[in-house]
């Protein structure tokens, strides 16, 4: 239990790994486009946690700065993705990505 008591780098990495896997799972399996988007946000957050954790234990500012830009990117991505989803909804009357398979063959 010594390890659990001492909050170290691995704790944060574990949280990040869990968030990442959950996000991935959402992206892989859910049919609803909005949930997929949420999964992507989870993945980004996982990455952010990683960045910040390493930054802290490394003493540098790179991770901090990067996570800032990740947030900016996430905002942009969310805006565009939602716009696309709304368009898809207009065209297919659904946000079920499995029905959007015009690329098939």
């Amino acid at each position: 239990m010594e390890q659990l008591a001492e909050i170290g780098l691995n704790h944060y990495l574990s949280i990040s790994a869990i968030l990442f896997s959950l996000g991935l799972f959402a992206v892989m399996t859910r049919r609803n486009a909005i949930v997929i988007l949420m999964g992507v946000e989870l993945i980004l957050n996982a990455a952010n946690i990683n960045f910040l954790a390493f930054s802290k234990w490394n003493g540098g500012m790179e991770g901090v700065m990067f996570s800032l830009f990740v947030i900016v990117l996430a905002a942009a991505e969310a805006a565009v993705a939602l716009a696309i989803i709304i368009n898809i909804y207009k065209i297919f009357s659904s946000v079920d990505v499995s029905s959007v398979d015009a690329m098939k063959e």
Binding site: M28, V97, D101, M103, K104, E105
Partner: protein
Amino acid sequence: MHSLIQLSIAVLLLPLLSFVFLIFFNRRLPRMGDFVGVGMLGLTFGISAYIFWTVIVQHYDPAFRLAWDFTWLDFGNVPGVGPLQIKMGIVVDNLTAIMLAMVTLISFLVHLYSTGYMKGDKYYGRFFAYLGIFTFSMLGIVLSDNLFSIYIFWELVGLSSYLLIGFFFEKDSAADAQKKAFLANRVGDIGMWLGILILYSQFHTFSYREIFEHLAAGEFGLSNAWLTAAGILLFMGCVGKSAQFPLHVWLPDAMEGPTPVSALIHAATMVAAGVYFVARIFVLLTPDALHVIAFIGAFTAFMAATIAITQQDIKRVLAYSTVSQLGYMVLGLGVGAYSAALFHLVTHAFFKACLFLGSGAIIHAMHHEQDMRWMGGLRKNMPWTFVTFVIATLALAGLPLTSGFMSKDAILAGSLGFAETEGSWYFYLVPVLGFFSAMLTAFYMGRQIWLVFFGESRTHLKPADPHAHHGAHGHDGHEEEHHGVHEVAWNMRLPLVVLATLSVFIVYSPDPLDGGKGWFMKMIPTPATVVGAVHAVEPEAAAAAMGPLVAEASPLEGHDAEAALHAETPMHPEAAHAEASGEHGESHAFADPRQAEIAHLSHAAHNRAIQISSIMVVLGIGLALIVYVFRFIDPDGTAEAIRPLYLLSFNKWYWDEIYQATFIKGSMLIAAIFSWFDRNIIDGMVNGVATLTRKFAFFNGSFDKYAVDGMVNFTAFFVNTSGGVLRKLQTGKVQTYVVMALLAVFGYFVYYFAQLVS
């Protein structure tokens, strides 16, 4: 720059100017700009006459030579050769001056004549433009001082000849003829080009003068066989252009062109260019090459004369006569009768141009009827044409008191001298064929005169044939039925009169029996050979003989590119001296004993030649009179009696058919074979590679049918098949893709850990 050089350049460029101006603006000018062409040529002729007057009449100098050149191409400092420059330039000497005057005079007269003959044609202005570019190219040949530029102008006259033969290009026969002419000339040209290359590869220069100097100094690096080959190959250019056997077939067909063109190009000037060119390179021809030339000339003269006997078309008779006469000139050069050959070139140019223009006048007056069978009795209707035509005919047949008599006899005397010098019996074939051709010439010209001008008109005998009208070129508007045949207008009559005047002996020599006494033969002496000297005499002696020349050449070595006038020393001062004082043009000293021997024996044979040829001519004319005037012999019956010979002659010795069956069919066959080869074998090889590839790839024959279309198609097929398999994975669902990608990542994880563990 010497003023004569400046004038020569003006002479060269004025016709070009006329061409450029007329080709662009002829439709915007009144009368389609014919006055531009005629005016320019008049000016050109004026300048040429001035040059002629200055050089030949006023200040005759046997060694006169003016040259001017400029650096045309600069190859820089070429490894292994040193600084290399290709120069272009012009040269004016006695021969050039005479040729200039002759070419521009005939060209001017033809221009003038064409204002009448071509009147009303759809492309009237373009005709004068083409004449302009022809005159330009022809003058270029005359003025060139090196082999490269003569080759350029050589092909350019080929082009203008092509354009003018096909002037009535809507007629298929004209289009065929122009193509044939160009291709036959090209065949000759590649020979000439190879000859030029042989010389260039040794000396790295194209200039005549430098090549001759190097040759005289014995610097030719290859064997003598190569030099002989060079001579014969250069002569091939002449074979093509001067329509010698075996490339003579294009000239008769070239009569599809308008008649003034036939007069200018295919009788007087262009075809004579071949002879002129051989004269220019005369000094580098080895005795073996000269033998070949002599025999080809003799055979051509004879063969063409036999064909001319049976032709029905007035222009074709004249065409074969031209081939025959060119054969004479070539023969003359081959036997070493240099002056005589050039003399014949000039005299022939005038009387043959006169004959062609005369025939043009007849054709014009007869509304484009060219078949002599339907003419007759024209002497009353066309007295001017008749008289001039007869004078020219007498000159062609070689009757005394005409120019043709003097020049032809000089050639024949030369051939006798040649045969005696060479000794072997078969060299006597040359004079024998020559004399026999003289008889035939007299015969067929007598036949022509009779058929055209005497007897009664046979126009009405012509079978009615809707396609017989040759008036395809612009006369459609005023096609009239045959009514009276009238004399042509003054602008067509004047050239006839001028040319006929120039066919009389007095212009050339005071003695009607001996051209050697005339100014021409005196002023154009035979130059000393540069190869004979090398091969006949020791090199030191040759160097000594050419001493002044080589010594004089050295300051020229470093001569800069700038235009400069070379005031040059005589090619052979002692010869010039002997000639100036001697009575006969050919009696001067030669460095080469063979040349001297021929010259000597030719002179001795002079009287014999006159006697024999006079007998021959009288025989020929007599035969013509017997057959056509007195009708002792029925021509048709005779033709039946010797039918194989008649057919041989009438079908032009079947040369066209032979060429058609061999070269043309052969080429088309090869083309077809190669094309098939390309499609089936080469592409098939690609396919074969594909098959192999496929066999290696899938050692299963069941995919055979997919690979038939070659490697290319096979690859496409392969991509297609594998794509077919892979597209099952292509669900179109993004998430499936994600899963797959991640599976790959996961696979990598597993691999990585396995590595880590082991």
